[in-house]
Structure formats: structure tokens, C-alpha cells
């Protein structure tokens, strides 16, 4: 099976990307590309759900920052679903970057923050 995977869903003008498995140096770049290619210009924003992700390291954190940069140039927002008890939250905390990313505890909050109406 793939080390890590990404599944997409549409939520009223917002694209939801759900990450599963593990993200490291071996697959971070291809996952970032998959997300960028799937996010169309029509999207108001993107929500990346990392709740189910089992491993994230500095390569994955780099992915999140680059993604945010790319979306910003297109005028699209990025919200991350990273619950307090998730592996991703630990990685962000240990790397000291939690304050620099917009993170939410639940998918609903994250969707609300980037939806066209919100």
C-alpha cells in the first residue's frame, strides 16, 4: 500500500483534502502536487484534514507552507484540520510552527473559515 494517501471531496465551493498514512521526504512532493493539481481556480479555498494522518515530519510541514504560499498567489485560503491529539499536532509543536499556521480542531470549523459565505 502507499505510505501516504490523499482523498478529495467538495464542500460548497471548498475543496477538502484528507490525508492518511504517513508523509515524509519520500512522498511529500508528490502529495503536494496532487493537491495543487486538484485545486481549481474556482475554489474559494482549501481545507487539508490531517486528523487521520499517522506521521508528519519537517518534509510534511514544508509541504503545508509551500501549499499555503501557492494558494495565496491565487487568492485562495488554506485551513488545516489538526486536532490536539493528532500526530501532526505533535510535529508542528515540536518544530515550533504551530503559531504560523491556521489550524482548527474540527473539519466544520476549518470549512467555515474558508467558505465563500464565511
Amino acid at each position: 500500500m502507499n505510505l501516504g494517501d490523499v482523498r478529495f471531496a467538495q464542500h460548497a465551493g471548498v475543496l477538502l483534502a484528507e490525508l492518511t498514512g504517513e508523509i515524509d521526504m519520500s512522498n511529500a512532493e508528490s502529495i503536494r502536487q496532487a493537491i495543487v493539481e486538484t485545486t481549481s481556480n474556482q475554489e474559494a479555498g482549501l481545507v487539508v484534514d490531517l486528523s487521520a494522518l499517522q506521521y508528519l515530519d519537517s518534509a510534511g510541514i514544508q509541504l503545508l507552507f509551500r501549499l499555503r504560499e501557492q494558494l495565496r498567489t491565487r487568492g485562495q485560503g488554506l485551513a488545516l484540520v489538526i486536532p490536539a491529539d493528532s500526530a501532526s499536532n505533535d510535529a508542528l509543536r515540536l518544530a515550533g510552527v504551530t503559531p504560523h499556521l491556521d489550524t482548527f480542531q474540527t473539519r466544520e470549523e476549518a470549512l467555515g473559515s474558508v467558505s465563500p459565505a464565511g
Binding site: 515524509d24 515530519d57 514544508q62 515540536l94 518544530a95 515550533g96
Partner: protein, 557 residues
Amino acid sequence: MGWMSIEDPPFPDPPLPRGTGQAVLPPVELDLAPSEQVRLLYSLSDPALSELELDDFLNELLARVQEALSVDTVAILLFDEASQQLVARAARGLEEEVDRGVRIPIGRGFAGRIAAERVAIFIADVDHADILNPILRRRGIRSLLGIPLIVEGSLIGVLHVGSLSPREFGQTDLAVLQVAASRAAPGIERAQLVSALRHEQRVAMVLQRSLLPKNLVETAGVRVGARYVPASDGVGGDWYDMFELDGGRLGIAIGDVVGHGVRAASLMGQLRTALQAYALQGSEPGRVLALVDRFVQSLPEFAMATAAYAVLEPDTGRVELASAGHLPPLVVGGENPRVVELTPAPPLGAFPYGHCTELEMTLSPGETLVFYTDGLIERPGIPLTHSIDAMLELLAQETMVEDLCQLAIQQLVPVAGLRDDVALIAIQNTQVPDELVLDLPAEPRVLSEVRRALRRWLRHRGADREQAAEITLAVNEACANAVEHAYSPAPARFTVHAQTRDDGAVTVTVRDSGRWRAPRGEHRGRGLTIIKTVMDEVQTNRTPLGTEVIMRKRLRP
């Protein structure tokens, strides 16, 4: 074999009527003088020949006919019902006919007329006869004698013999050919069935083999061995499987579809695929089997199978197990060899609302979990529980999975062959070394292996889940740095060395042969931040030969 001169026949043989072109002959009734050749023809109905496949049987028939009649050519064309044609199937002295796949429409030419009218035909001089097949003429055949092959009133083909010199075939020749035809025809039909059956078996075998995993997953902390042995009379519906799940967990499955042959084999393939697909969705073993059960219920034809499915977490040796009527697995190779006691549950497909047995257990380091199908232990007159106990005794002390598989197959599969097929899969939770030493190519794909091996080692050194995860994250960053900076004309490698000290601190050293470069950009900087935040102490040594990062962390008591 010799060419018998027609001028000097062993006994007088009244010539067959000839005329010009084809002469239709009534069957002869003639007592043949007993001879070795005639005996060989009679023995064509020998049951010993009945096991031969079609081509072997036909070759035997042709050899005996050629010997008995001292002819230059012998050929058999079989009736193909679908096309209503005769198809050249076997020949001696006339191999081109077969090689070219000659087809003769019923009713046309020499062989076609024999088939249509179901009569023997003699052609004294090929030059003056209606011959459809140019190969006969090209080969230089001058005289031909042919008869139909008939079983219980149905035409199955044509047998003909030929001579390169003009030959007057006699009544005895025809009688000999009649014996050959009457004795061989049922054998041909039987051999056709045997061939069709063997073909079906071969298809099933190929199907089954291709469905079994070619390479068993090798992952940190786990060793796997497996065997599949088909039954002596064909194929069955046994399978084993193993696949990776997320989080480094492994799925191990075994199953046995009730029945034999192509249907059982193809059903096996479906169940195996269904089980893996449900398992990859991340469901618990019991839920996975319940879904497979529902799948079996939904099949158009009634089907039944036993199956067991287990998920092993190599970090801890924890096993979740579910079984639907399958035989209990064994745990061997440790201090407590045992049969894993399961409460009985019905097979998949047996009842509209089946249930399965669920169990949680732990494999200690060194222990091996063994799944098998009933073909391995089922023996007439011996209770299953006795056989299971005997198998446990046989395998109890085995600490190497390969040896275990070898031993089980050697000792338990009868020399005379199996009545039922056998699947066996053994998975070992390997010993955790005191010191972890990894030497790996400097490629991104190996990082997940490092994490798996290290996390498992840390858990067995007393780290809790959270601490093991954090240290693994930090060491991964050091390894990623080594991979990123791999700089060597030869394929670069790096090593990871982990050990514990008496004071309960863990030391992990990552060495590479790359040239040290200062961390570039925020990205690497974040990696270093992680290492420094997680570990108590970090020391980096740069030498002309490479870089060494030594990290220490005291484990929580």
C-alpha cells in the same frame, strides 16, 4: 519396424475391390491371425492407455497401426462439431498435414466422404481420385485406405493409412484397420475428455498461482514464510495472503473455499480480493470477515468458505484475530507453544447472519503465529484435535519460519499426495536486539523502514507510545538530512545505531558519508528544531569522511 513386402504377405490376403477413383468398401468380417501386431491393436483398449492425454494416446495408436500394416503414412483427423470439419490431429509420415492444421469439410474429398458416409474407402491410385488435400499428393502417396472412427453411433474422426508405392490393400488390412478403429475410438473420446479436464485444471492452477502473493511482505520486526501445495488430483480453493496496512501494521489472511476445481479457485480469488479490499479500508478483523460474509451471501451461487484474518502490530506484537469457522492457529517458537483456542463460529456464507470469533493476543518476541488449512492435518479416522496437537508438538520448538514451513510440509504432507490442497502461512514477531544497527542506502524510501524498526525497538526498551513517536520523529530528521546530503560517487549509504545505557538513556547515532552542509532554508531548520526539542542532548561531529549526529534521550521511567 520394417517394410513388409506386399509380394510376400505373411498369409494370403484377398485384395479389396478397386475400380477407378474411390472404392467404397463394406465392413469385412474376418478372423485375424494372431500376431504381435494384432495383439498390440487389441490392447489399444487397455485401461493403462486410458490415462494418457489425447496427443500421447494418438501417437501410440498411430505407431501401432503403422507397425501392424507396414504403411508409409498414418493420419488421424478428428471431427470438430462446431465447424463441421475434420481437423488433422496426429500423423506419422504425414506430419505436414498436422502442422498445417489441415481442415476437410465433411462430405468432400477422401476423408470428408468417409466421415459423411461412414464407410471405409480405398484409393488404389491417388492420381485418378478426388483428393482434396494437396499434401497427400505432394507427399507422393499412391494408395490410401481410410475408415471412420465411431463411438456409440457418433462420428469422432477418420483414420487413414497410405503407401508411397502403389499397393493393393487386402481384406486383412481392412480388418486390421477396423480393429484399430474400434479399439481406439473410445480411447480417443476418453483422452479428449482427459485433455479437456487437464486443461481446466491447468487453467485453475495458473489462476490460483497467479493469485498468491509473489513476494511476502518483509518489514521490520517480522519474518514470514508460506506454502501452497495443490491436491494430487487438481486444485482446491485454499489461499493465504499478507499485506501492509497503515501505521506499519500487517494483515494476514488464510481461507479455504468449500469445493474443488475452477469454480473453487475462482471463488477463492474473489474472496481473497474482497478480504484485502475491506481490510485496506482499515476495519477491525471481525468487521472485515463480516463484510466478506456479506459478499459471499450476495454471490449468485451458494458458496461457503472458512477464513481467518489477523492484524499484527510489529511495534508491540499485539494481534487482533477473527475467524469464521477456520481451524485454530498455533503459536510456536517461544516458551509457551499453544493452540489458540477459538470459540466455534460458522463458515462464511453458511448462515444469513453469520458471526465470527474475535480474539486479542500478544506475540512475544521470537514467537510465530501459524495459520493452516485442513488439508494439512485432515486424515481419515484421526480426530482433528489429535492432528492439531501432533502438529503443535512437531513445530513447537521451531524458531525459524522457513524451517517451520519446510518441516510442516515434509512431515505432514503424505508421500502419496494430498486429497485436499494445503495453504500454510507463518508470521514471526522477531526477537528485538539489544542494540539496533541499520545500514541502508541513502534514499528517501528507506526512511519509513528506519522509523518502523526504531519505534519497535524503543517500545521494547520501555518507551511509551508518545515517547517512541517523538524520538522516532527526531531520528527521522537526522536520517532525512543524511539522505538529502548524500554525496558520494558510489551509491551512498548511512547507518543508524541505537543503544540503551544503564541509566535508562537511549543513544541514537546517525552516520553518513556525505559532506556536511549547513542547513539550508527554514525547512532543514525545522528538522533541527525538532531534533533539539525532542532530544536531551545532540552532538554533531563533522569529519572529512562524513557526518555523525549523536542524540541522547532519557526515557520516562
